[in-house]
Symmetry: C2
Subunit: 514 residues, 2 copies
Amino acid sequence: MNGAESLVQTLADQGVDICFANPGTSEMHFLKALENPLMRSVLCLFEGVCTGAADGYYRMKETPASTLLHLGPGLANGLANIHNAKRASSGMVNIVGEHSAAHLKYDPPLTSDIEGLARPLSHWVRRVESPSAVAWDVATAVSKASEHPGQIATLILPGDTSWQDAGERAVLPRTPARAKAPDAARIEHIAQVLRSGEPTLIVLAGRSTRGRALEWVGKVKAATGCRVATQFFSSRIERGAGRVTLERIPYAVGLAVEYLKGFRHIVTVETTEPIAFFSYPDKPSLLKSPGTSVHALVEIGEDGAAGLEMLVEALGAASSAAVLQQRSDAPPPSGALTPATIAQALAAALPENCVLVDESLTTGRETMGLTVGAAPHDLINNMGGSIGYGTPVATGAALACPDRRVFCMVGDGSAMYTIQSLWTQAREGLNITTIIFANNSYAILKAEYANMGAGAPGVRALAMIDIDRPRIDWLAMAKSMGVPALAVDTAEAFHKAMADSVNEPGPCLIEVRL
Amino acid sequence: MNGAESLVQTLADQGVDICFANPGTSEMHFLKALENPLMRSVLCLFEGVCTGAADGYYRMKETPASTLLHLGPGLANGLANIHNAKRASSGMVNIVGEHSAAHLKYDPPLTSDIEGLARPLSHWVRRVESPSAVAWDVATAVSKASEHPGQIATLILPGDTSWQDAGERAVLPRTPARAKAPDAARIEHIAQVLRSGEPTLIVLAGRSTRGRALEWVGKVKAATGCRVATQFFSSRIERGAGRVTLERIPYAVGLAVEYLKGFRHIVTVETTEPIAFFSYPDKPSLLKSPGTSVHALVEIGEDGAAGLEMLVEALGAASSAAVLQQRSDAPPPSGALTPATIAQALAAALPENCVLVDESLTTGRETMGLTVGAAPHDLINNMGGSIGYGTPVATGAALACPDRRVFCMVGDGSAMYTIQSLWTQAREGLNITTIIFANNSYAILKAEYANMGAGAPGVRALAMIDIDRPRIDWLAMAKSMGVPALAVDTAEAFHKAMADSVNEPGPCLIEVRL
């Protein structure tokens, strides 16, 4: 087999069976190798969709997807969503095509320093030096991407290593990822803190916001009366009726400081102490009160569920019964669309076991708590702050979980960044309901302008914030890429549109006119 | 004034009076400073549009524009078109927002190694260290960007340097850019080559494809019988009726080798000898024949017009009369849309002094020569090979030359990369006719697949090349962003649509159904 065939076969052998691709001339042999039926290749019309989809795939499956990107600029187009994936600890294997070594010395137009572009946002970067090295390099990349937490592995594939003979198929062992167990001495220390009865907040992140970890932390809460929260953004939370409820530390600095004020202790699990997202002239970066002590129960990269189980044992809380979230029985709302009625409509419409990708920014910021009594679902947030993550992540999540409906809530400004996602959703017939909150503005910036002490924006500043000239016609946008769409301007219409979307396979788009 | 005000004022003082912006929270003080009426700020809905527009602006004006980008990921989104600009020797000043120094140490979510991301594609990178340094740093950035050839200057602006006091307005001198004169000894050597009568090709690039340089090279050609060409891609060519005609070295390796075969000498002006765009298993990288000698008349960065003038003097050709291009009097075509009828329709419809931005790839590749007899116009190509350059460059070119109609010919695959450009074109009322060649395919890749020796693509490979499921509805796409559009499927309808577009101010889109 040639190098490209070796690459695709090794990816599949190592458990990576999907590739989000936007190929170019230098990747034609890779394209030919994609005829291998073990690999599913998904075409995206922009690389930011490829890398965001790989992130979404990992969030649901906890195993890496691959991407195929065309030289340095193709990688560059995918970097913003690689940043977001890195911050979410999502593993991913990026394959970046490159000129063959003999051609590179002439500095042809598409030449750039691919390693230089890859390193700032990759944990691991390697250039394949010969076709016979491909299998080993790919296996190493997959192993790296599969670590706990997930890593960004970027493999650069020169054309000649792709088309030359790579020898026989290499059968390499898979290296299973193992999270480190947390330190037992730390567990005992935290147990003492909790036994003291002093007000304590446990802050969960990483994989501790779902599954067994949630069950254990529910017992700790029941046994000790501590409170349990997540950061404002989480990579994925299992929430809704029947699950342990997690509070959410607010986004706005003032609200977060107020929220954290009463706690004598903050216990962190797979995260660090709460910090502000941005810096402001007269606001703190650290959000805790001066008298609060911070204790790490589980460091990032350690096994959160194991740490919480050890804590339950140390506390003798194994038989404590966690309080579980009640199902909200509020009826669907009617009347004007407000953040509250939007959240109520969501809570009423979300079907059991759906996935909710949230990039709603202002619209959903303070009201998502109202959806906690919805049917059990998974909630995904943007961990890296680079907008344009939502529609690609929803694309990848839907491919990872074809039997679950994905709801993607996204502000209009964010949606425009990677709107090409809709096309891939239509092509692959993905069960995604995209909800565009159309306020015709980067509304978050109006608040941030004031938060920064810049006062009220003037005419020219406002012209950089409002995107209402022209108004984006979202029905036309969806139509252009083959996605059925409708617009709503009441809470009852919004609820009905969401509920209806569940019954129709494939993607749809709902424009929520605010 | 604060640091942000100092920044905007200094940009304007140094002659940079336009900013293509997509701001975020960390740039709110910059936004406030944009109230300065000396600066025109243009909102783009994706950073690749900002950087591509800055490239287009430079291509027409030969002075740099600025961009405003939101931290590392905002810069990353702009990198592909920075790559294209760099390869076109377009100068640009990128202002990248950053967390304040005090906040950065907590590694908040949007943190990344901005210098690391900027360096591979910037000639100059600096982080502002204090508000009082802003003016000096900005003046240095503008001076760097204004060099000949133009440079990519990237200035990182931490929030605190933006909002803190920068003192009085600093008045700094402008540093005018000067191109080096070419070496006189080299001129004499080239004159000898040309006097020998051996078959010689002069290859022009950089600023030598327009203005006085064209006039001089026309005299050299008339006096010596040499031939004159450009590389396949040029940053900007002045061409059409009444101008010296430049041949074009073909793109395909086989055709280029055949074209160059007869020449004993190749003389380069602001470029290097012709090389292949990509490498292929059994094709050469260098396109000249083994017996051909290459001579640099003018190196990149030197003054091409001065070098050609010196050559005219050395040859005693000052009174030679250049042969100028005749106006084609072919009538507008009718019938089926083919590459030839498309080019004929263009030749008939292009109005005098228009600007033609070409990203048509397959559709225009071999037939653009047919437009050489059109009314005089400027032709712009993609120098970096990263697709998605066309619609942003057209946006910037139209802002640089509000009294000239810009035609942007773009393949459907390329257009989807940075389609958000249409929104800025509508918002600013720009005189741009976007021509989408809708073949529902990355058609170039079908040829490249065969060129690579990969044979005919199989079903799965074709699925990564064809973008016909779903077909993009270009009329709906244009409508979604407020641009009037129509579709054509005959040569006469195409010609009429182009001719009509000239009479209607503002943007429009023509879908050419292939």
